[in-house]
């Protein structure tokens, strides 16, 4: 098994953290994983994306060119990467900010992550919602482990925040699971 994930969006949306999260869960499951960030030349407001690979075997280049899964947070990211989508690519798109291109092949999960996050009253959990959707849509990493990792990564935060994150994760899972 080798799963190549590309995650793209803008600075501040938690793109890199989402990638890191997925890779950490994979590590917990004793899989091999790589995470490769890329920033825009500018510090803020810029483009942000990362490549994550999860595999039972040796991972070669950590750069994902042809993703098995593409997770996009906004329109600019979608436009930049949609050409990479193939027949069997899973696309998880933040439908609040992404207008779907129907001509595109691939399996799609369109979830209004920003809306959902606002509803949860915590804009910062948008990426956690996306994570939940990914875990549900593609069963590469285990949901329980993901929740574990979520907890441990938020270790010192107050319990309300932890709960909200778990709720967000579950909401994402649920939304994607339904489809």
């Amino acid at each position: 098994m080798t799963e190549k994930i590309m995650i793209a969006g803008s600075g501040g949306q938690g793109v890199l953290m989402l990638g890191l999260f997925l890779a950490r869960v994979a590590a917990m499951e004793k899989k091999n994983a790589t995470w490769l960030p890329a920033y825009g030349a500018e510090k803020r407001g810029g483009f942000s994306h990362c490549s994550v690979i999860i595999s039972d075997e040796e991972i070669f280049s950590p750069m994902v060119e042809n993703p098995d899964t593409l997770i996009v947070f906004d329109q600019r990211a979608y436009d930049s990467y949609k050409s990479r989508v193939k027949e069997n690519t899973l696309v998880i798109q933040n439908s609040t900010l992404v207008k779907d291109d129907e001509a595109l092949p691939g399996k799609k999960v369109k979830l209004p992550a920003l809306e959902m996050a606002n509803r949860l009253d915590l804009a910062k959990v948008m990426n956690v919602i996306m994570a939940g959707a990914y875990v549900a849509a593609k069963k590469v990493i285990n949901a329980e482990n993901a929740v574990e990792e979520l907890k441990s990564s938020l270790g010192r935060k107050e319990s309300g925040v932890i709960k909200k994150n778990i709720d967000a994760f579950k909401a994402g899972m649920e939304y994607a699971g339904k489809k």
Binding site: A41, E42, K43, R44
Partner: protein, 246 residues
């Protein structure tokens, strides 16, 4: 009838800078541009940009600009001025550049009394590389390389560059300013102007230290960052003319 009484100086290109919101680099860029306009020397000015957040300065200023290797600005500037004594040459540098890796170049250029203008942005850290401790970081300041706050025993003391240069005979004019509000910006501009006038009058080496803010790495809102400059930095680094030997 309408009259434009404040607008973009000609010496600034009409592009947005890459600096973070509220960053003092932007302010000082503007002031330099205004001064150069007022002195009518845009067509004979050569700027030397540093390695640091201001490395892209050549994209923002509307006159000739080169980029020097990290810390070497003043060597580059001095040579340009020696070759073209009738031009106006200035060096623009951050604290990492001027006070850390470029220390030798700074002292020797000042000591040679090179007839150049140096604009020194002290924002108490290495902005571009992500907020590491600089020689000018305050005691107690937490940075990415002084996680428990700078302590003198391990990291040494914050350097007051102007006070260090003052005893050198080649040094003619030193003033420390800040740009945290309109009043201080006006003062800063006056100081910068004097530093350029000195050069034009062949007075010799002038340097203006600007206590600058780095909201991004300080993790403070622009206004809060300016407050930190007003309260903490200006307390340690005395404002005003440090030397005037013209």
């Amino acid at each position: 009838m309408e009259k434009l009484i404040y607008g973009m100086p000609e010496s600034l290109k009409n592009v947005s800078t890459t600096y973070c919101p509220g960053c003092s680099h932007s302010t000082v860029h503007k002031l330099i541009a205004e001064v150069i306009d007022e002195l009518k020397v845009r067509e004979k000015t050569i700027g030397v940009a540093p390695v640091g957040c201001a490395v892209f300065a050549y994209d923002f200023w509307n006159f000739d600009v080169t980029e020097a290797a990290h810390g070497r600005n003043q060597a580059v500037s001095a040579a340009i001025k020696r070759v073209l004594p009738d031009n106006v040459v200035f060096s623009y540098q951050g604290d990492g550049d001027l006070a850390s890796i470029g220390m030798a170049e700074t002292i020797h250029t000042a000591n040679r009394g090179e007839n150049i203008t140096v604009i020194f942005i002290n924002n108490t850290n290495y902005g571009m590389t992500g907020g590491q401790m600089a020689p000018t970081s305050l005691l107690g300041q937490v940075t990415t390389t002084s996680p428990k706050g700078r302590d003198a025993q391990h990291y040494g003391y914050p350097i007051k560059m102007l006070e260090l240069l003052a005893p050198l005979e080649g040094v003619k004019y030193l003033e420390r300013v800040k740009v945290t509000n309109a009043a201080s910006v006006i003062k800063a501009k006056k100081a910068i102007k004097k530093a350029f006038e000195n050069q034009i009058n062949n007075t010799g080496f002038s340097m203006i230290e600007v206590l600058g803010s780095c909201p991004a790495n300080w993790k403070k809102e622009p206004a809060e960052a300016n407050r930190w400059v007003d309260e903490k930095m200006a307390e340690f680094y005395p404002l005003g003319v440090i030397k005037d030997a013209r």
